[in-house]
């Protein structure tokens, strides 16, 4: 029974991951992006759980609960807390929505080409979906370079990190549990640090616009 729905579930979860990433490029409101990030966390946790049931590995199920708690709830909560404190939550990105979505489409095609070349010996269902993970990494980069607010850059970083986690789960069923814990802790701390810095930035400059960080140069 599970074997027949397994490919569909993998497709559904990875589809949700790609869709939320693309929507983040489209939406300019920070709060909407944070809700999308939370949805992405849930989709990633579901993907991990599906892989865990398929492999029959209890360890992977524990990881999926961890992913749900950290990426689905914890990080979006921290970000939403930070965003409510800012006066401006709208973003004026360097790229308009149409150009943004077009770039997302190109990046997705590119990552499918790369992934199919990388994993050509692997004919499993999950390996076929690995292109989505690479696409998320590239979309995360896109968000990092085109957004101007500190909060949006943070979201770009988290999409990038979700992408790496997706690649890890789809290609090798995830890294060992203790490493997953270490990696999650590191990402959480980086977000907390950037959150603290965004707060200091608001105190010093009155807003969190990255473009004003131009004083240091040669």
């Amino acid at each position: 029974m599970f074997d027949t729905v397994y490919p569909q579930l993998i497709g559904l979860c990875t589809g949700a991951l790609l869709l939320t990433s693309a929507l983040m490029v489209w939406r300019h409101s920070l709060l909407a992006s944070i809700r999308l990030l939370s949805a992405q966390g849930f989709a990633l946790a579901a993907l991990v759980a599906v892989i865990g049931v398929e492999e029959g590995a209890a360890e992977v199920i524990i990881v999926s609960v961890l992913v749900l708690l950290v990426k689905g709830m914890g990080l979006p909560w921290v970000l939403a807390h930070e965003t409510r404190a800012t006066t401006r939550t709208d973003e004026a990105p360097r790229l308009n929505p149409t150009a943004g979505l077009l770039t997302v489409a190109l990046l997705t095609i590119l990552s499918y080409v790369v992934a199919s070349r990388l994993l050509r010996d692997d004919s499993s269902v999950s390996a076929h979906a690995a292109g989505i993970g690479l696409a998320m990494v590239l979309i995360g980069f896109l968000l990092l370079v085109t957004r101007r607010q500190a909060g949006s850059q943070l979201i770009g970083f988290l999409v990038l990190d979700n992408g790496i986690a997706t690649v890890a789960f789809l290609t090798s069923g995830g890294v060992p549990l203790f490493l997953e814990l270490g990696i999650s802790l590191d990402v959480l701390l980086v977000v907390v640090i950037l959150y603290v810095f965004a707060g200091r930035m608001r105190n010093k400059f009155g807003n969190t616009d990255i473009d004003q960080l131009r004083k240091l140069h040669d």
Binding site: L160, D161, V167, L179, D186, V190, R200, K204, D218
Partner: protein
């Protein structure tokens, strides 16, 4: 001997907790010095163990000290000791309220770096390197000025994105090892030759991992965080970042290179590292010629030396002992210079080279060690950087990379000229006729009420104080001056460490 593996992790963490818990300020300030000493002592113990032919391990092989790890741990401890001990004079600029967390973060940084070099697992090493991004972020932003906030933001974003790319590479290397039955991230397992690793995945994973750690090592074109972070951080932290953090990132690159070399041959990463190294040398040369800030000057010099080490890594086996000696020589010299730059900044009140003139006449206590250390940095013998550079260049010509080392040599000469000019501008010459604001303030403080001294700056007695502990600086400079001449045990240790990476015996 396995206790020497957990001491460098446990002692700094305990001392960090004690620093945070408060208590005596004087004791808390000694915390980082104690941590460095513990790391250095364990490093030396492990050096002894590997020279006796054993390979201590702990936790089911999770921590392992082969010759390379033991050597790198010694470097972490030695550079840490110079930076923290020499930085004790740096007290006044640390705001009292945050001083406890400052000392605690330095201790945690040292523990994370020790874990990174001792871990026999790429994933664990990754987590440790990322942990150092976290600790140094607050240290870079420690002064809480606008510029230090900017430097810290850029550093955290670029550093964590770079390290995230490395994680993607590590994930692909892990996926490549599925062919061996049990997927693994152990250095020891992965660097065995003849494993059925997927070459396509290893190529992609190795390239991404090296790219990511090259960001952390400050190699061009991903170097842009480095000058900002090094110039804004407190001086001892700059010394630690330059001498320890960059070195450990290079260590990660060398280990990954061993894995890829065994599967797809050396040519692939050789091109990447040569391009990165030469580009770093070029960027450093271009920006050193017109440099105005002496802390940024030291930062660009770090990019230069990392570039030269990357060229050495590209050359491969024959150059590895020279590269490893380079790591030690550069770390000790740069830590000394950053500590001195912090003191100069403190007494002169300006980071601008133009405003710091005639240091040798006015402040011989600072200028003499500064001149000696700059001589070591630009590559004068008998200091070990000279021998490392010669070793890399000779090995490059032997390995048929004459064009690469030729270009490197030309860029090194340009950098030599630029650094010499800037150092001469700072130290040599007569004091300006009109006293600079810093000098005037100093004079008023020294000769309170003595109006004659204020008007005639020539009469100011030279300041012979070294403004902080003198011993660590001279120990560091002395060590770099003699280390290249000690064949036993240093030469043997370097050869064994290079052998771990598949180098010459």
């Amino acid at each position: 001997m396995s206790f020497a593996l957990w001491i460098p992790l446990a002692v700094p963490v305990v001392l960090a907790a004690l620093s945070l818990a408060g208590g005596s300020r004087q004791f808390a300030r000694l915390g980082p010095v104690g941590s460095s000493a513990a790391v250095l002592a364990s490093g030396l113990l492990l050096d002894g163990a590997v020279l006796a032919g054993t390979v201590p391990d702990l936790g089911g092989g999770l921590l392992r000290a082969d010759a390379l790890s033991a050597y790198m741990l010694t470097v972490v401890g030695a550079v840490g000791l110079v930076s923290t001990w020499g930085g004790l004079g740096h007290a006044t600029v640390v705001p009292g309220r945050y001083a406890g967390s400052y000392d605690a973060l330095i201790s945690v940084f040292l523990a994370a770096m020790s874990l990174a070099v001792l871990a026999d697992n790429i994933g664990l090493m990754w987590a440790a390197v990322e942990a150092t991004t976290i600790t140094t972020a607050f240290l870079v932003g420690h002064h809480r000025t606008r510029s230090s906030l900017e430097a810290a933001w850029k550093y955290v974003i670029l550093g964590s994105v770079g390290v995230a790319i490395a994680l993607l590479g590590i994930v692909l290397i892990y996926a490549a090892s599925r062919g061996t039955g049990e997927p693994t991230l152990s250095w020891l397992e992965l660097s065995r030759t003849g494993l059925p690793l997927d070459p396509t995945l290893i190529r992609a994973g190795g390239a991404l991992a090296v790219l990511g750690f090259a960001t952390k090592a400050g190699l061009a074109p991903m170097h842009s965080w480095l000058p900002d972070a090094h110039s804004q951080a407190p001086a001892p932290v700059s010394g630690l970042m330059s001498g320890v953090l960059l070195a450990v990132a290079l260590y990660a690159i060398l280990r990954i290179q061993t894995i890829t070399n065994a599967v797809i041959g050396p040519d692939f990463l050789r091109v990447m590292l040569s391009v990165g190294g030469l580009l770093s040398l070029f960027v450093a040369a271009a920006l050193l010629i017109r440099q105005r800030d002496f802390k940024r000057m030291l930062a660009y010099s770090s990019i230069e030396h990392m570039g030269m080490m990357a060229v050495g890594a590209a050359i491969g086996a024959a150059a590895l002992p020279a590269v490893l000696l380079y790591v030690l020589g550069h770390g000790l010299t740069k830590a000394t210079l950053f500590v001195l730059s912090g003191r100069i900044l403190e007494v002169e009140g300006t980071p601008r080279i133009d405003d710091v003139r005639a240091l040798l006449v006015r402040r011989p206590g600072l200028a003499v060690p500064w001149l000696i250390a700059m001589a070591a940095l630009v590559g004068f013998p008998p200091f070990s950087i000279f021998f490392s550079e010669i070793g890399i260049i000779v090995a490059g010509f032997d390995a048929g990379l004459g064009v690469v080392v030729g270009i490197a040599l030309v860029l090194l000469l340009v950098i030599f000229a630029a650094l010499t000019r800037l150092t001469v501008a700072m130290t040599i010459g007569a004091p300006a006729a009109a006293p600079a604001p810093g000098v005037a303030a100093e004079t008023r403080l020294d000769g309170a009420g003595d109006a004659v001294t204020g008007e005639r700056p020539d009469a100011v007695p030279p300041d012979r104080s070294s403004h902080g502990p003198r011993l660590p600086l001279f120990l560091a400079l002395g060590a770099t001056a003699v280390v290249a001449f000690i064949a036993e045990p240093v030469g043997t240790l370097l050869a064994r460490a290079a052998a771990v990476l598949g180098g010459i015996q």
